[in-house]
């Protein structure tokens, strides 16, 4: 469905996307995971024909993104990171104009609008100007608009950024349904680990314009080693209690108990506990994509953003004065 070959975009001295080779299959949900500024949006913008690559090439739905831009655009839908819905129109008008632009048959427009408005929970506010919407409502309208023409390939650029947990769940549910019902190929960028983990078939970790690692979420996690199990028991227990088990990668004494690194802990937990005398406390921390990200980029995904760093920056500026 999507093939890129050495796709590169430079803005002056900055290389935003650095020679990405990628292949996405039909019907796949593919997540690009990376911190802000990793090049995710630029990469997607190139695939959507919004930005011309500096070098390299890509085909989307079999069409070249540079020479067959219009044909590419006929096959795609996109939900932008920053809402691009029209402030001066109502929600319904936004959807209507979108349907007209995308050649949705006229007799289907009204029905689809009602369905999408209900899906994103905007039916009651549909006739108010978007200018009066909250940030979350704009995003939901944006999502409704990206989906309403039922594209073969859907790009979701940080689709749930700034959404409350309820709306986020609703969006996830809809993405899953869409894929199941229509076989839509979905490319999703996110910096939420849970999102990449729970929605996608494959995840690419992207950092500084390059793909660092690619595979299913489980594959990536298994590369880290395994889950962490903390055991506290009545009396003493030594690491030797678990010797000979191939799924126990490591066992060390820590915090008055034993810390084990275990591949797929939920599956083996019972077997582990059976080997212990009276258990006082068990903690299992599953390996997350956070750990994966840390391992492959040497950084935490949230290092470069969030309130913490803003406050730090303010503090630094303040101190300099």
């Amino acid at each position: 469905m999507i093939e890129t070959l050495g796709l590169t975009k430079r803005f002056g001295a900055i290389t935003a996307v650095d020679g990405i080779d990628l292949s996405v299959r039909e019907g796949e949900v593919f997540a690009l995971l990376g911190p802000n500024g990793a090049g995710k949006t630029t990469f997607i913008s190139m695939l959507c024909t919004l930005v011309r690559p500096t070098s390299g090439s890509a085909r989307v739905a079999g069409c070249d993104i540079v020479s067959e831009g219009l044909a590419v655009r006929k096959n795609i839908g996109i939900v932008f990171q920053e809402p691009s819905v029209d402030d001066l129109l109502s929600g319904r008008e936004n959807l209507y104009l979108h349907c007209m632009l995308y050649g949705v048959p006229r007799r289907e427009i009204a029905g689809r609008m009602e369905e999408m408005l209900a899906t994103v929970g905007l039916s009651e506010r549909a006739d108010d100007l978007v200018r009066t919407y909250s940030g979350g409502m704009r995003r939901r309208l944006e999502i409704a608009r990206g989906l309403i023409h039922a594209p073969r390939i859907l790009f979701l650029d940080e689709p749930t950024l700034g959404l409350d947990p309820g709306s986020r769940q609703a969006v996830w549910k809809y993405v899953r349904e869409l894929r199941k019902r229509a076989g839509t190929t979905i490319i999703l960028t996110t910096h939420y680990m849970e999102e990449a983990d729970s929605l996608s078939d494959r995840v690419a970790i992207i950092d500084r314009g390059k793909i660092r690692e690619l595979g299913t979420a489980e594959e990536l996690k298994s590369k880290v080693g395994g889950d962490v199990v903390l055991l506290k028991v009545k009396g003493e227990i030594g690491a030797e209690a678990f010797s000979g088990l191939d799924y126990v990668k490591e066992a060390v004494q820590a915090d008055g108990g034993l810390r084990l690194t275990v591949a797929d802990a939920p599956k083996h937990l019972k077997a582990l506990l059976d080997r212990c005398p009276a258990v006082e406390e068990v903690q299992v921390r599953r390996v997350t994509l956070d750990d994966v990200f840390l391992k492959f980029t040497g950084r935490q995904i949230r290092d470069e953003e969030g309130e913490g760093s803003i406050f730090q920056r303010i503090a630094t500026t303040h101190n300099r004065r």
Partner: protein, 255 residues
Amino acid sequence: MSDLHSGLNAVYALLLREIKIYFREKERIIAVLVSPLLFLFVMGRGLAGHSPAPGYDYQQFIFPGILCMVILFTSITYGLYIIWDKRLDFLKEVLVAPISRSTLFLGKALGGMIGSTAEAIILLLIGAALILPLGPIRIAVAALLSMLFSFLLVNIGLGIGARMNSMEGFGLVMSFLTWPMFFFGGALFDLSQSGRALRLAAYCNPFTYCVDLMRRVLLGWSVLPAGVDLAAVLLFCAVTAAWGIVSFGALQQTK
């Protein structure tokens, strides 16, 4: 669905958006008319210069030019507004739509044309009531010409807007293009009586032919034959539309 059909649908959608937005911003409709009315009533009455058109006073003489001025400023401003659209992401939505850049250009240009023409018609009616008595046929012809001039001038605005990336350029275009076009277009004076350099500048200026043709229609007086004016306007329309479409072809997201 055929390409032509979907193209027409897209143009209709773009047009509809502009019309809806235009009539929602009522303050703007009024605001645009302030400076032309100042020109007409303060300069036209106060200056009370010489009118070369027999039977008409100076205020009446400059009225067709001021009518064109409204079209000029509304159209160029509208066109340049896509710089703003580019930054605010509204344009992204249409840039990823399955429509060709020429369709997008046409939709935008026609949308702008409607806005400018509406302003022109308002001023035309004010003028007909207070300054220059006009029959319904003259008003109708002037309205049609306003559409044509709007198209020409919107093309210029859109073409420039598509190539500029910052709103700071807005003021520059207004100072170095729009105002000179207005002053060198002979809206306030008789071109045939002016110096050679001024006339040369005027004849390179598409706005000159607009003013001259409008004067022919409203006052029955013009420097050039009406046919020459109309041919020049049509030629400029074709050239600017082609240039605008090329500019839109290169249009990319700014951020």
